[in-house]
Assembly symmetry: C2
Homo-oligomer: 357 residues x 2
C-alpha cells in the first residue's frame, strides 16, 4: 500500500492507495460514532455499494443514491442528502461516506460541512479525477447556474481511501478526463513527473495498475504539498487551477455535464499553455508536446465551436480568482513553474483562445 | 458607547452598543474590499436601508431584500442571495452585511460562509433577539422542513454593530420575544443579572433606552463568555439552548413563523424550569417567578393545544444535541447554573410538558 499524509495540523489526514481497499476492514475505523450515511450515485451503486455496506455491519447506515453527473451538482440535489439524514435521525456524530467521483465527493463533503453545522466525512473516490484531485484538499461545494463551484466550503475529510481496482470499471472518457488533471501536476510544479508521464503514457493509457498507482501517488503528493502551504487559497493554491478558468467557462457555457470537468480542463490547459508561449515564457514546442499527450488520450483540443472569445471573457469575469475587476490567470512562467498573473492584456487572451480553436 | 470583544483568537471581533450607530461612519471600516452586499428584508428595508446605503458610498453595493419571517429561512431563499451576488459579479473579497433580525443574520452569515467558500460579513442586528443572541457567536444556517437550523455553519462575523435606536420601531411581539432570550442568560449563568432584570422589568418593558443598553451588554457578555470557551458547541455552549429543544419542537410543529423563535423559547424555558423543579433542583417558586416575568411580557406560557407530548418527543429526537439515541436536555441544576443531562426519564419529560399545558 502507498500512503501519504496531507499535513494540516489538527486537520491532517492520511491518503491510502492500493487495489481492493474498499473491501478491507481498515477504513471503517475512521468512523467515530455509531451512525454512517453512504452517498453514492446510480452508476457507482451497482458496482461497489455492496462491498462498502458489507464493511459497515454494526453501524446504523443510511444510503443516498444521487443521479449521476455534474448537472445534478446543485443545492436541490444537496437537499436530498439532508432529507435522508433527517428522516433517519442522524445526529451530529454521524459520518458521511462519499463513494464515487468528483461530483459525489464535492457534494458529500459540502453536506458534511453543513449538516448540523458540520459532521465528519470519508472520501472513497472511484474515478481517476477524484483520486488525484477533487477528493484531496477539502474543496467541497455545488454549482450555481451562474458559475461552477460558487457555493461551498473548505472542509477536510477524515481520510481518503483510493481503491485503484475501481479504475478497471471507469469509462474511457472519464479515465482520460482524470489523466488531464494528472498532467496538470507535471505542468505546474514537477518536470520530472511530466517527463515520466510522457515516457509511460502508453502504459498509463492501457491502465497498467502499477503505473497508475505511481501516477496517483505522485499527483496526490504534489497536491498535498500545495494545499499544506495554503489551505484556503489565499495565494499559491491557485496554481492548482491551471486551465480551470477557461475550463469552468466551457462547463458553464455548455450547461454542466456535456463536457466532463477534466475534458474542459484539458482544453483550458492548452489555451493557458498557448498564452504562456505567446508571452515567451515557454517554448512553442511545449504547446505541441501537451497537445500531443492530450490527443493520444482522446482529450478535446478545441473549445466548443459555438463559444465566442467574448463569451469566455464574460464567464471568466465571475471566476473566484477575479480581484478588483481584474482577471487573474494561472499561466506557466516556465515548464513546471506556474504563476498567477493579472497582467495579461485581454487581446492576448482572446488571441490564445482563437489560436486553439 | 458600550463595547465588548468576543475573544476567539484570530477570529475575535468587537460588539458595539449605542444609539444611532447605523448612521455613523465607523462600521464601514470593517469592509476590507471594494464590494459589499446588504441583505435585509421587506420590513426593515423601508426603515433603515437608506441610512446604511448612505454610509456605503464609494463601494460597489448590491442589495438583497428577502421576504420577512422564519418560514423563508430555507435553502431556496438562501439561493436568491447567491443569485444576486453572482449577477453582480461579487468576488471572494466582497463583504456581506446583515441588516435585520435573526432570520436575516442567520441566512446572511450562512451565505457568507458558503459564497465562493467563504467571504467576510458584518452583523447589523435590528431586533432585540438578534442583538442579544443570534448575531453573536457565529451560529449561522437555515431550517429544513424536518428540523430547525439543521443546515448551517459556525462562521464568525467581522463585527456586530448594535444600534439600540432601532428598537423603537420593533413590534411588541418581537420585543417580548427578545426579552425571553435576555431572561435566559440570567437563568443559566447569572443570578445577579436575573435579579436586576426582575427589578427593572417594568422599565425594560417600557423600552427605557439606558436599561435596554445595559441588558443587551450584559446578555452579550454572558454569551461571549460561553462562546469563547466552546465555539463549536463541543460541550458547555449547549447551555445557551435552555428551552430551545422544546421550543424548536414547537416551531417545527407549527410550521416556522406562527410562533416567533423567542416565544417558543419562552414556553420551552418554562417547561425546562418545571422539569428542573420536579427533579428537586430548583424551588417551585422559581417556576412561578419565571412564569410571572414571561406573563408580564405577554409571552406564551403554554405550548400549542394541538401538540401532544408524543409529538414533542418525536420532534425532539432530531435535536442537534441528541447523542447515541439519547435525548439531551438543558436544565437548571440551580438558579443560574444550567447543565446538560441525558439522564431524565421520559415520563418526567412528558409530565412537565403536560403540567405547563
Amino acid at each position: 500500500m502507498r500512503e501519504l499524509t496531507l499535513d494540516l495540523g489538527e486537520r491532517s489526514y492520511p491518503i491510502r492507495i492500493a487495489p481492493n481497499l474498499l473491501s478491507d476492514n481498515d477504513w471503517p475505523s475512521f468512523i467515530k460514532g455509531k451512525q454512517a450515511c453512504v452517498v453514492t450515485n446510480e452508476t457507482i451503486a451497482p458496482l461497489y455499494l455492496e462491498a462498502v455496506l458489507a464493511r459497515l455491519q454494526g453501524w446504523q447506515v443510511s444510503v443516498v443514491v444521487l443521479p449521476d453527473g455534474e448537472s445534478h451538482k446543485n443545492l436541490e440535489t444537496l437537499n436530498t442528502i439532508f432529507d435522508q439524514l433527517l428522516e433517519d435521525n442522524h445526529t451530529r456524530k454521524t459520518t458521511l461516506i462519499a463513494l464515487g467521483g468528483g461530483v459525489v465527493g464535492d457534494m458529500t463533503g459540502f453536506a458534511a460541512a453543513c449538516y448540523q453545522r458540520g459532521v465528519p466525512f470519508i472520501q472513497l473516490p472511484t474515478t481517476l479525477l477524484s483520486m488525484v484531485d477533487s477528493s484531496v484538499g477539502g474543496k467541497t461545494g455545488v454549482n450555481h447556474a451562474l458559475g461552477k463551484n460558487m457555493i461551498g466550503a473548505f472542509y477536510q475529510p477524515e481520510c481518503v481511501i483510493i481503491d485503484t481496482e475501481t479504475l478497471t470499471t471507469l469509462p474511457p472518457r472519464e479515465f482520460s478526463a482524470g489523466l488531464a488533471e494528472v498532467l496538470k501536476y507535471g505542468l505546474i510544479a514537477d518536470v520530472p513527473f511530466y517527463d515520466w508521464l510522457e515516457a509511460n503514457w502508453d502504459g498509463l493509457l492501457a491502465r497498467d495498475p502499477e503505473l497508475l498507482a505511481e501516477a496517483i501517488l505522485c499527483s496526490c503528493e504534489n497536491k498535498a504539498r500545495v494545499v499544506a502551504e495554503d489551505e484556503r487559497e489565499g495565494g499559491r493554491r491557485a496554481i492548482l487551477n491551471l486551465g480551470h478558468t477557461f475550463g469552468h467557462a466551457i462547463e458553464t457555457a455548455t450547461g454542466y455535464g456535456s463536457w466532463l470537468h477534466g475534458e474542459a480542463v484539458a482544453t483550458g490547459m492548452l489555451i493557458a499553455a498557448k498564452l504562456s508561449s505567446d508571452l515567451g515564457w515557454i517554448a512553442d514546442a511545449e504547446v505541441e508536446r501537451l497537445a500531443s499527450l492530450l490527443q493520444r488520450a482522446d482529450l478535446p483540443l478545441n473549445p466548443p465551436a459555438e463559444m465566442a472569445a467574448e463569451q469566455f471573457l464574460s464567464l471568466m469575469a465571475r471566476d473566484k480568482k477575479v480581484l478588483d475587476g481584474r482577471l487573474r490567470l494561472v499561466l506557466l512562467k516556465a515548464l513546471g513553474e506556474a504563476v498567477v498573473t493579472d497582467e495579461v492584456e485581454q487581446a492576448k487572451v482572446i488571441a490564445a483562445i482563437e489560436a486553439v480553436r
